[in-house]
């Protein structure tokens, strides 16, 4: 179960907004986390707390293949991203770095900035603070396995050992 405070964002939050390209010569994810979402909301990186959640509109993470986008969100403390839809590379990257991503088109309209919500990844349920229940399709089992392992690095490590 994931429980956290919501940060709301709109449609088409692209990877340049999540982490601008001019910072990417820095390979420290902790340093990048200090700039995460900077061009979308300059107050975000300073105020986000561990366990907070992002709820956004369509096409979240469109643009570049930069894995630093989900990694920096995770390093900043974000526990999951809920969006109406995701761009495909961001979606894969998020699972691969162990950041839960949830496709739920109704969420953006149903929750407000700062509200506390609860997510059950297994059952595919989001509870708004009002008690309103939203449903989403849980991840396929093999993607849940990657997430549960903590991302593709620990998952692949297990596979390599068993070879």
């Amino acid at each position: 179960m994931i429980k956290g405070k919501v940060w709301k964002f709109g449609d088409h939050i692209n990877t340049d907004l999540i982490i601008p390209g001019h910072y990417l010569d820095d390979y420290s994810i902790e340093n990048l986390a200090k700039h995460v979402m900077e061009d979308a909301d300059p107050t975000f990186a300073k105020n986000v707390r561990k366990g907070d959640l992002i709820v956004a509109g369509r096409n979240f993470g469109c643009g570049s293949s930069r894995e630093q986008a989900p990694s920096a969100l995770k390093a900043a403390g974000v526990a999951a991203v809920v969006a109406a839809s995701f761009a495909r590379i961001f979606y894969r990257n998020a699972i691969n770095v162990g950041l839960p991503v949830i496709v739920c088109p109704e969420a953006a309209a149903a929750v407000v900035q700062g509200e506390e919500i609860e997510i059950d990844l297994e059952r595919g349920t989001i509870w708004a603070s009002s008690g309103k229940e939203l449903r989403f399709k849980p991840l396929p089992a093999f993607l849940r396995d990657i997430l549960d392992a903590g991302g593709l690095v620990p998952y692949a490590r297990k596979r390599l050992v068993s070879r």
């Binding site: 340049d16 390209g21 001019h22 061009d39 096409n59 930069r66 990257n93 390599l160």
Partner: protein, 419 residues
């Protein structure tokens, strides 16, 4: 055999199964490209406990995003990758200066029709121009590909685009793809394999087809393919000895959607800030002042792009308050444009010629924008802050429109500039 789409055929072959759109398969890749972010790939590779690269001959590694290194951090990342390439004896490596990955890989014969290619760059879709199924992945996923040789893929639905022409003078592949993205929207082809067909595609050069495939990711596509023909064959004949066979969609294969575009009166197109689908005909934006004009990138930095820019600028100088920046896409493009006098002419028109690379397109270096500045570029993304300050603006257009705009110091219609 029931009929199949291009995507179903390539991914069936690569996964050794009879796959249909919607299925999830584990597929073996034929080509695995990574650029500077190889530094992240090798970190994940080591963390996985992987000892050896399963098929090093399938890898191509090169530096293009930050070349030559603009910061000590970038230099250190280059050094680390260089050493790793040496240790692992990775045979296919291009150091700084060879050019942008999505021009270098096709032009050096690494891409063949029917391949399954992955790259740690969203514009890996460019290789679809040669009839490959090519898509972008992240660094950690690439590390798993190095170690295991495979990755999971969902077989995409197919969206077929049919372009009827001929295109009018001074419009090009860039105007076509901007028009289509404006029409479909920046997530209108999410997760799909886009097929580019019709007489307009047949008439385009391989370089022009690369523009279409390259920007298919800007409408969310997983892959964007142009089917091989005599031009593809000619292009490949001087670049590779390896044999290949075209993979085509079967007649009657099930596609999600077919869209027809009548393009014989298409006007030059411009994408306004800050999304790629914010597209209008050029006459809606003529007269908007610019500070910088940029010609280059994996989208439009090829020889034919530089030639059309030179044709428009020929003998005229850009205004003093406009920076015209030109980045040839590769060493080969640079050498050719240099040998035939194109670069000298552009220099005389006031251009700054950069070394081949991605630099300004992603705001890495070599042409960042200050707050309040405006750039018109032949690149592929106009997201807020991409080229520098979040308070700058990027307009996207064809090389002809960018050159015409540079000449006037404001967004201009190339059909007017050449009258």
């Amino acid at each position: 055999m029931p009929s199949k789409t291009f995507g179903e055929k390539v991914l069936s072959r690569a996964s050794g199964s009879d796959a249909r759109s919607g299925d999830i398969v584990t597929a073996k890749v034929d080509l695995a490209m990574s650029h500077e972010n190889t530094a992240l790939v090798l970190k994940a590779f080591k963390e996985m406990g992987a000892k050896r690269i399963l098929e090093p001959e399938k890898l191509v590694i090169l530096f293009d995003h930050r070349v030559p290194a603009p910061t000590v951090k970038a230099a250190e990342a280059h050094k680390q990758v260089r050493e790793f390439v040496g240790q692992m004896e990775i045979p296919q490596f291009y150091d700084a200066g060879e050019g942008v990955c999505h021009e270098v890989l096709p032009s050096k014969g690494h891409v063949l029709p029917g391949m399954l290619a992955v790259g740690t760059d969203s514009h890996t879709v460019t290789y679809g121009a040669l009839g490959a199924f090519a898509t972008g992945i992240g660094a950690t996923e690439m590390a798993a590909v190095w170690a295991l040789g495979e990755l999971w893929l969902r077989i995409p639905e197919t969206i077929r685009l049919v372009f009827k022409g001929p295109l009018p003078r001074w419009t090009s592949a860039k105007d076509v793809i901007l028009h289509v993205i404006g029409n479909i929207g920046s997530d209108g082809a999410d997760y799909a394999c886009v097929e580019f067909t019709g007489d307009v595609v047949d008439r385009l050069s391989v370089a022009g087809r690369m523009v279409l495939s390259n920007m298919s990711v800007e409408m969310g596509a997983k892959a964007g393919v142009c089917f091989p023909d005599a031009k593809t064959e000619e292009y490949l004949s001087t670049r590779t000895q390896r044999s290949w066979r075209p993979v085509l969609s079967d007649e009657g294969a099930k596609v999600k959607e077919t869209r027809n575009y009548e393009l014989s009166d298409l006007a030059p197109q411009v994408a306004r800030p800050h999304t790629v689908d914010n597209v209008v005909a050029v006459d809606k934006v003529v007269g908007i002042k610019i500070d910088q004009a940029l010609i280059g990138s994996c989208t439009n930095g090829r020889l034919e792009d530089l030639l059309v820019a030179e044709e428009i600028l020929h003998g005229n100088r850009v205004p003093r308050n406009v920076r015209l920046i030109i980045a040839p896409a590769s060493r080969d493009v640079y050498v050719e444009a240099s040998a035939n006098g194109t670069l000298a002419s552009l220099m005389r028109s006031g251009a700054i010629i950069l070394n081949p690379g991605c630099g300004p397109c992603l705001g890495a270096h070599e042409g960042l924008l200050a707050a309040g500045e405006r750039c018109i570029a032949t690149t592929n993304r106009n997201f807020r802050g991409r080229m520098g300050s979040p308070d700058s603006e990027i307009y996207l257009a064809s090389p002809a429109t960018v050159a015409a705009s540079a000449l006037k110091g404001e967004i201009a219609d190339p059909r007017e500039a050449t009258r």
